[in-house]
Symmetry: C2
Subunit: 368 residues, 2 copies
């Protein structure tokens, strides 16, 4: 089964498609492209400079700021993909939900009843985040000379619902898990609305120019397979199916946006997650890529260096990165961290990591 490879259709020949997109579409590229989650973030002094003058929401909602932050790591490191600066909470306020950051997201009035969920509106595609579409257009314009592709993203319905019901971050999100048990009807209505919201939100990003999309299901791993199959799988599937066939402008002509799915601490769910119609699975650091490959035949694996490695010495970074690169052989691989880069990371350590990944010749390594 090679759903990804079948879809590869750049207008002017795949050889000229950026490395990241080729790997995302299932090509076993000569070297692994690299980008890192939260690459536009707090570990960069130029990011902290902007953050000292604007609130988090202002940074997300001002197209010039969001585009500038998106470009910072590309200018500094020349990564193989950019990801638009934004937050998975962005589409929720237009539904009528108040959110603050302190520093994690806090929902002012957590949802707990069918009535509160019935009251939520699903805004039109144009209403959700026009500032984000503007930021994507600005960033695309700036990225044009380098040909660096731009990734859009959103939260998966289950993960958005987790925050809306729990109210704030938690170790085990017990309120939410109880809610699924005691109010399944309300839960499904909430997930229906969040699915429609996510489709519109991600479509808007692709139509504005995002060349790939990543769906963050940060809290999927809390659940067992049956719960995931009931409350996550069908909604994630609908989101991904709705994004199939949407075309975006790539530097080399029209192309579909490959779909990336991320779940954390979810190795027990891989046998179910593999049913999702997406091209790329983004994986945390808990299992080696070589052990994971068999769960996702014909798909691209993205990951999965433990972000804590970037705080160790350069020789340790080299050794651990090469272990990940070795594990990624035997199929398409996009190098990334297993989770967001830590704010304490010295930027020169990321520069070193990028050099290690670029120096690793996958064809030669495959022949060994």
């Amino acid at each position: 089964m090679e759903p990804a490879a079948r879809k590869l259709k750049p207008a002017t020949g795949q050889a000229r498609l950026p490395l990241f997109l080729r790997a995302a579409w299932g090509q076993d590229t000569p070297r692994a492209p690299i980008w890192v989650m939260r690459q536009a973030g707090r570990y960069l002094p130029e990011y902290r400079e902007i953050k000292s003058k604007a609130s988090f929401w202002e940074m997300c909602r001002t197209p010039e700021l969001a585009a500038e932050i998106t470009l910072q790591p590309i200018r500094r490191f020349g990564l193989d993909a950019a990801i638009i600066f934004n937050d998975i909470m962005t589409p929720l306020p237009p539904m009528g939900v108040e959110i603050e950051f302190s520093p994690g997201p806090v929902i002012q009035k957590p949802l707990r009843s069918l009535k509160e969920i019935e009251a939520l509106t699903v805004p039109s595609q144009a209403e959700i985040a026009p500032f984000l579409e503007a930021a994507i257009k600005l960033a695309r314009h700036e990225l044009e000379p380098t040909g660096t592709p731009l990734i859009g993203f959103g939260g998966a319905p289950l993960t958005l619902a987790t925050y809306l019901v729990q109210g704030s971050g938690s170790k085990d999100f017990e309120h939410f898990r109880v809610f699924l048990r005691t109010e399944p009807k309300a839960a499904h209505l909430l997930l229906e609305k969040l699915t429609e919201l996510s489709i519109r939100y991600l479509k808007a990003q692709i139509e504005a120019g995002a060349q790939a999309v990543q769906l963050f299901d940060s809290w999927a791993g809390l659940h067992d397979q049956r719960t995931y199959r009931e409350f996550a799988l069908p909604y994630n599937r609908r989101v991904f199916e709705a994004l199939s066939g949407l075309e975006t402008t790539s530097p080399n002509g029209l192309s579909e946006a490959p779909r990336i799915y991320l779940a954390v601490g979810s190795s027990h769910l891989y046998p179910v997650i593999q049913e999702l119609p997406c091209e790329v699975f983004s994986l945390d650091w808990r299992m080696e890529l070589g052990q994971i490959r068999s769960f996702f035949p014909g798909r691209t694996l993205q990951g999965n260096l433990d972000p804590t490695v970037l705080l160790a010495s350069l020789p340790v970074i080299t050794e651990e990165a090469e272990r990940v690169l070795q594990g990624g052989l035997g199929g398409p691989h996009i190098f990334n961290l297993g989770h967001g880069i830590l704010r304490e990371t010295p930027p020169e350590h990321l520069a070193h990591l990028i050099r290690v990944v670029r120096a690793f010749d996958r064809q030669q390594a495959n022949q060994r």
Copy 2:
């Protein structure tokens, strides 16, 4: 391989050993014994009554209070095992570490350097927790008429180190994970000391009368297999090996204390965890017991109902409990929750669960 079954040696015949101990020693009992984690806890009004008058440390350190709290759920429900009321942080203050609860444990000065770790003392067995030994003796005396066995417990070295270095609860315990990468020598010294501490602490409990011991490795699941193999496996093995051959008084004569290991969110580690020399593996709710059994041949599985189920309706509790009971067939099984009972649980829901577990005839179900 049946390490557990070989060791069964009650003085007066195994038929008269309490059900919990028979299952722990590897017997495929006619019905599954049941106890639940945090059964002596906040969901019980009689516990909250005591808690309104004493601090958490006072409750742990006053033998009469700790024994009374231990007995509360046994009196109310007649569970198949009692677990001494206490906390995994108990042995740390005698090392020279200040800990407060607000409500989770907070280490006043998190450890980060070799020098701070070198300064930690390992108290003698008699110095660690004499109040806990007294509480165990009191509880054993009270439990004698019912024959209910008493479980002692402690934190695994890696999990204790996680708190000592991180300082307080956290989602991903990044400080600690960075510490393992950047200060492996200091980490190993800390784990050495915590291993010796854990051995003395658990030995003291067995010698005072604990008839089984559970090692809580709550944070093992954060790590990949290589990290677990380096920083957890050898230390856990040493703890368990040191407890082998220790005899405790059971209601029916002398018997060794079976050893239970609990790791949460750790299915990716099962292929390594199975190497531990213990009789029982306690499992969270993320995977079905039937899927887990093959990782632990010849051992007893303990678990693994999702604690959120106990907040649902009685028919849902019945259905989900029976699913766990079915999954537990095909080998020895101790029924438990996959994590601690939630404070919002109505006590009558636990009473219902116990009835469901006791009504489930494993021999009849096996024949179906």
